[in-house]
């Protein structure tokens, strides 16, 4: 039995070995790009001294983690990461579904396409450009908001880039501006898939538009919504680095409300060269992220097997 299995396998490799040759470059790439760095997590447990090299540096156990969690930093970046991403998930879902429902009401195909294209435009732009756009709006001396909008409302100019309290609001608006075009198309695709018969019979029964949205569209949209939200929750420990680094112009004055784990790790590495603390924070992020993905995948699989990642 066992021998037969092996012979089959050898035969199979002879017959389809070319497939292994094809996949080899990708496997080597993933090994270098993804697996080698996984060994690098030992850095989080070492006192890195480049004279001694990474492997030769002294082990310090959990000291890097101890320092990280003793400071205020760990609490601030965890809080910011979770609150921002939580807010993005809630606001993003509500707004995307609302826009998708509206887009679905547009009967002319051309008009619907046009709206979709325009709302999707910000999604294509790099965060550096977004930072320029925000600067043109919020610059203290000559920004559009301070120069034209606030005087109209009779409000004094605001130093946007010096007031950390305003940034949860600003970053949420920027996030929605950039991403709603993308997510609403996903929801629109599943609304379009809903059978027209439901709406026809509801209209015959005299249901209002509002009633139809509430009793047909939203319930039938629920599976997509659940999956989208769960997938986002699985990644809640990872932030859009560009949004939090570029848009506040990497300003130290704003860090209490704009610093997330990703920006903290970046700063530790590039600005302070504190490899130990920075990789401790990175490892904390990877492990919690990993557990979150596993948990959400298990939930997704219970809801709908086909949609689970594995």
């Amino acid at each position: 039995m066992r021998r037969g299995f092996h012979e089959n396998r050898i035969q199979n490799i002879r017959k389809h070995g070319l497939l292994l040759v094809m996949i080899l470059p990708g496997i080597i790439y993933l090994f270098i790009n993804n697996y080698l760095p996984m060994f690098g997590i030992v850095i989080a447990f070492k006192d890195i001294n480049f004279a001694k090299g990474i492997w030769g540096s002294d082990w310090v156990g959990f000291d890097n983690f101890a320092y990280l969690f003793q400071t205020q930093d760990a609490w601030v970046i965890t809080r910011n990461t979770l609150l921002y991403n939580g807010a993005f998930i809630v606001l993003g879902t509500v707004l995307s579904i609302a826009v998708a429902v509206l887009l679905n009401e547009v009967k002319k195909r051309f008009a619907s396409r046009l709206y979709q294209s325009i709302i999707l435009l910000p999604y294509l732009i790099s965060m550096v450009i977004v930072a320029y756009l925000v600067l043109a709006l919020l610059n203290e001396e000559n920004g559009f908001v301070n120069h034209y909008v606030l005087p109209l409302l009779g409000i004094d100019p605001v130093s946007w880039y010096a007031d950390s309290g305003k940034w949860p609001f600003i970053l949420s608006v920027v996030y929605l501006w950039k991403n709603v075009g993308y997510t609403c198309i996903v929801y629109l695709a599943s609304i379009v898939g809903i059978s027209q018969e439901y709406y026809e019979s509801a209209t015959l029964d005299g249901a209002s538009k509002w009633r139809q949205v509430w009793s047909i569209t939203l319930p039938l949209l629920k599976p997509t919504m659940v999956i989208m939200v769960l997938l986002a929750v699985g990644r809640i420990f990872n932030s859009d680095f560009g949004l939090f680094y570029q848009v506040p112009l990497n300003s130290g004055a704003l860090q209490t409300t704009t610093d997330v784990i990703d920006t903290y790790v970046y700063r530790g590495l590039m600005t302070f060269g504190d490899f130990g603390m920075s990789s401790a924070a990175g490892l904390y992020q990877s492990i919690v992220g990993f557990l979150l993905v596993l948990t959400t995948n298990a939930i997704v699989r219970r809801k709908n097997r086909d949609l689970a990642l594995f």
């Binding site: 292994l20 790009n33 999956i227 990789s279």
Partner: protein, 293 residues
Amino acid sequence: MYSNRIYQMAVHLVLIMMGIAAVFPFVLLLSASLTEEQAIIRDGYRLLPAQFSFDAYVYLFNQYSLILRSYGITTFITVVGTIFGLLITTLVAYPLSRNVLPFRSFLSFFVFFTLLFNGGLVPMYLVYTDLFHLKDTIWSLIIPNLLTNGFYILLMRSFFSTSIPGEVVESAYVDGANEWVIYCKIVLPLALPSLATIGLMLMISYWNDWFNGLIFINDGSLYSIQNLLNRMLSDVQYLQQNSLSGQTAVVSSVPLGSVRMAIAVIGVLPLIAAYPFFQKFFVKGLTIGAVKG
């Protein structure tokens, strides 16, 4: 009937307002790049230039070597990255879609585990700088992004296994075609729509990439457009100090504010110009990709 008209009008009104909100900042940017420098300082950023001027673009035109080189870098990494990214993605996805692939379950796990866990930024940075010495080379702008998104492999694999009939592959095999021939002559041609979609996503992410430049590139001559913009955002004088013609006399008259905005305009222009042509593919790709990714 009457209330239906009002309803439709309300729907359009809301969507038009959203459209304006989406486009408005771009108009501000374009307008600023076409405004006379003093007018920006005096009147701030406006929707329409208070004092129309091409100075910023004339200045950029005179500094063409710096801008042109960044453009060249961006174009090079976009073209090379997209081609190799597509090649390596399909070369992983196709074997995984065949159930005769030896060690299939191990290889699948090897690929998909990368979606779940990573070593983090610091080890990744050290692998590329310390082990492979790619810092300040153009390859550091291309290689780290080739397979960044494992979801593209997932997408491609399920496309191959669902929309390329097993019988076609099987009969080609019986006719004596080997896996290479099947891959090149049958699989890739049939997969053109999804190749286009994923190619587009790769193209956009290479065109927009500034992160790899930020961590790996210190040498200004290797700046892509996005890195040049990023640098000018933190250091307004950067362009002035690095202008190759070295006309120190005119430095004071350099329209810094509008030049920054003009480079930003140049940075987004190719994407926006090409957008109407690939919009259809792009939307299709989003809807396929979204459910799984």
